[in-house]
């Protein structure tokens, strides 16, 4: 049984301009010891999905439907008290911006010790020792001294390490990392990705890794879910998605990133247009206004009929193109652009 199972999740916000359908019928599973990457552009619903799992949406303007089952417990509609016991304990989150995720008024050590004391009832002294141990585990030099530093005394990479230590202090079984390396330099990003991988091997934590960077996906994820306009457009293993993607949006993502090994003069092939407004998502396939392959399907099918995501052993794409055509278009038109054999 998967550790986290999300079924038919929808999240809608009431705003002044109307109802925003941020997530629309999303289903996925995360297994213990595996990393699921959620890929998509800003506004595709990646972060909203995970805030829903953590129960962090304001219930007054948010309507959440569907099922979120964590280790056999239903989380949708669960009382705040239950969620509070789980958050920071069984499930934890690493935020993108480490400077705003830490309070400037408290020492790093105190911030790491606090959730540990709350969830385990440990003494001040034991919690402090635990904080030192966590800082050592994430590779902060001289943790006995740095535990009393304030966040501003840490560099960007060290702060991100401290945030990881904070998330891992109660040995969570599910870790949600929302763009944890986007604000970091490449050399530090490589260190953090190695660290997360190593910690996962030690503890068997399930990780949901939200990112827009397909290079990062290649390094850390086992499975990938591609989101567009609040829906899952393609799912598969990391190898499936990066080497034989089936959905035109995934093709667009891959061919719009320059590659170091492609010929220098190969032009980038951007996805035309801009992502849709979620106040009025397009009818049928949400990607059809930007899709260059809708003529292959013919008529107005892409406009009228919403393609369903059917999975065959965890693999599938929500697209009306027949499977054979997906393969031939990718092989003939997309793969040559990627500079791979």
């Amino acid at each position: 049984m998967p550790f986290l199972s999300v079924h038919d999740l929808s999240v809608q916000f009431a705003t002044e301009d109307g109802i925003v359908k941020a997530v629309d019928g999303l289903s996925f599973d995360v297994e213990r010891g595996r990393t699921l990457g959620i890929v998509g552009e800003s506004g595709s619903g990646k972060s909203v999905t995970n805030l829903a799992v953590l129960g962090l949406h304001n219930p007054r303007n948010t309507a959440i439907t569907g099922e979120i089952v964590l280790n056999g417990h239903e989380l949708t509609g669960a009382p705040q008290r239950t969620l509070e016991k789980l958050r920071g304990n069984t499930m934890a989150m690493i935020f993108q911006d480490s400077l705003s995720a830490l309070s400037p008024y408290y020492t790093v050590g105190r911030q790491i010790a606090e959730p540990f004391r709350k969830h385990t009832g440990a003494s001040r002294k034991a919690a402090r020792e635990r904080a030192v141990e966590m800082l050592r585990r994430v590779g902060i030099p001289q943790p006995e001294l740095r535990v009393d530093d304030y966040p501003h005394q840490f560099s960007g990479g060290m702060r991100q390490r401290a945030v990881i230590a904070l998330a891992l202090v109660c040995d969570p079984q599910l870790l949600i990392a929302d763009e944890p390396t986007t604000a970091l330099d490449v050399t530090v990003q490589a260190q953090i990705l190695d660290l997360l991988k190593q910690l996962q091997q030690e503890t068997g934590t399930a990780i949901i890794f939200i990112t827009h960077d397909l290079g990062v996906v290649a390094r850390i994820c086992d499975d990938v879910l591609v989101m567009y306009a609040g829906r899952c457009v393609e799912r598969g293993t990391v190898r499936d998605i990066l080497t034989t993607p089936r959905h035109p949006y995934a093709w667009g993502l891959l061919s719009s990133v320059p590659r170091r090994k492609a010929p220098v003069d190969a032009p980038l092939r951007p996805i035309p247009g801009t992502p849709p407004s979620l106040l009025k998502p397009p009818t049928g396939c949400p990607f059809h206004p930007r899709c260059e392959f809708r003529e292959y399907v013919g008529d107005t099918r892409c406009q009228d009929e919403r393609p369903m995501l059917t999975l065959d052993s965890g693999r599938g794409a929500a697209c009306h193109l027949p499977a054979e055509q997906q393969k031939s278009i990718f092989a003939e038109q997309i793969r040559p652009l990627l500079g791979r054999s």
Binding site: D185, Q189, A218, P258, P272
Partner: protein, 349 residues
């Protein structure tokens, strides 16, 4: 929209490069650190840029890469004279503009334009697109034939926006469209050199490619030279003819893009290239892991600035600063500042 242009023809790097447009020698910027009450004494300096040399030829794109805090943005701001250099000189078309006053600088400034990173902060939210793009033209007394409005509409079309958007406000546009407005504003000055400081890093992946293709099209069609500042190595390779790698205020390595990406000699260039992830699960190249963070530019290491994180560092690196030279085995114009460079033959392709 301009997307079709990118599909039509592969962009070739301009073959005919003119003479030197911008020459920078020994450029240095130290930001003083002051302490004390009443009489603020200078207690140190952030050595943001420390003796940087490079040349940009007419119509050429020079990429400047490095991690945050390496001084790449400061270099861009020094070249546009938004910051006053501490030492060194800047020659534009042979004229020394290092300390030229505002009045005499004005005609040159209109030829050196800037594109900023944040498309939200760099456009005035209270002005219409028309006013934003016309502003610099009016300040510089540029009277385009047919009037300002006609010119703005042309510019909007050039950057792939609808000319009917003349009277709209920035909030009505997406990030990528706003960046196009910023580009149109720069183009209104008919610049010879554009300093693009992380022009696409705030944009979504699919939109980044649109903007990079637009900039490349402008570069080829209008022959504008670029100083392209970015941290994304793949985008810099795609856009620039030559590339300079900066670390803690100094250029570590500079050369043609093929030299830098195919046969890098400096260990830092190697480390940067191997740290940047590629979207390819079969990318099994051996990775070099740098330990620790970039040291503080207030108190940079003696000798070679990279030695504290370098796996090849020896005693000599502590005492002697390596000069930026065309070391043995390098192609012409490929300069490396290292005592113990990587072998060009064993370089990862």
């Amino acid at each position: 929209m301009s997307e079709q242009l990118s599909l039509a023809k592969p962009a070739l790097p301009s073959q005919r490069k003119g003479g030197p447009l911008l020459e920078v020698e020994g450029l240095t910027k130290h930001f003083p650190l002051r302490d004390g009450f009443l009489f603020k004494r200078q207690v140190g300096a952030v050595q943001a840029v420390d003796g940087v040399d490079f040349t940009i030829h007419e119509g050429e794109a020079l990429g400047l890469v490095g991690e945050s805090g390496c001084g790449k943005s400061t270099t861009g701001r020094l070249v546009t004279r938004l910051l006053e250099p501490t030492a060194g000189q800047i020659l534009y078309q042979g004229h020394n503009i290092t300390h030229t006053d505002r009045k005499h600088l004005a005609p040159i400034r209109s030829q050196i334009q800037m594109i900023f990173q944040d498309p939200y902060a760099s456009l005035n939210p209270r002005q219409t697109v028309g006013t934003i793009i016309t502003g610099p033209m009016e300040i510089n007394h540029i009277q385009p034939p047919g009037g300002h409005e006609k010119r703005v509409r042309e510019l909007l079309e050039t950057v792939g926006l609808n000319p009917e958007h003349y009277n709209r406000f920035p909030h009505e546009f997406s990030g990528g469209q706003r960046q196009r407005i910023g580009i149109a504003r720069a183009l209104g000055m008919q610049p010879k050199l554009i300093i693009a400081d992380e022009p696409v890093s705030a944009l979504d992946v699919s939109i980044q490619a649109q903007v990079v293709n637009l900039l490349q099209k402008l570069q080829h069609e209008l022959g504008i030279a670029f100083l392209f500042i970015a941290h994304d190595l793949a985008i810099v390779r795609h856009f620039s003819h030559r590339v300079a790698v900066m670390y803690l205020g100094k250029i570590m390595e500079i050369g043609n893009r093929t030299d830098i990406y195919e046969t890098p000699r400096h260990p830092y260039t190697h480390a940067l290239l191997s740290a940047a992830p590629e979207a390819n699960p079969d990318d099994e190249q051996e990775r070099i892991r740098l330990a620790g963070d970039v040291p503080s530019p207030i108190n940079p290491p003696t000798g070679c600035r990279f030695r504290t994180r370098c796996w090849k560092a020896q005693q000599k690196c502590t005492t002697e600063e390596p000069p930026l030279l065309q070391i043995a085995g390098n192609n012409t114009g490929h300069l490396t500042a290292c005592h113990y460079p990587q072998d060009p033959t064993t370089a990862t392709p």
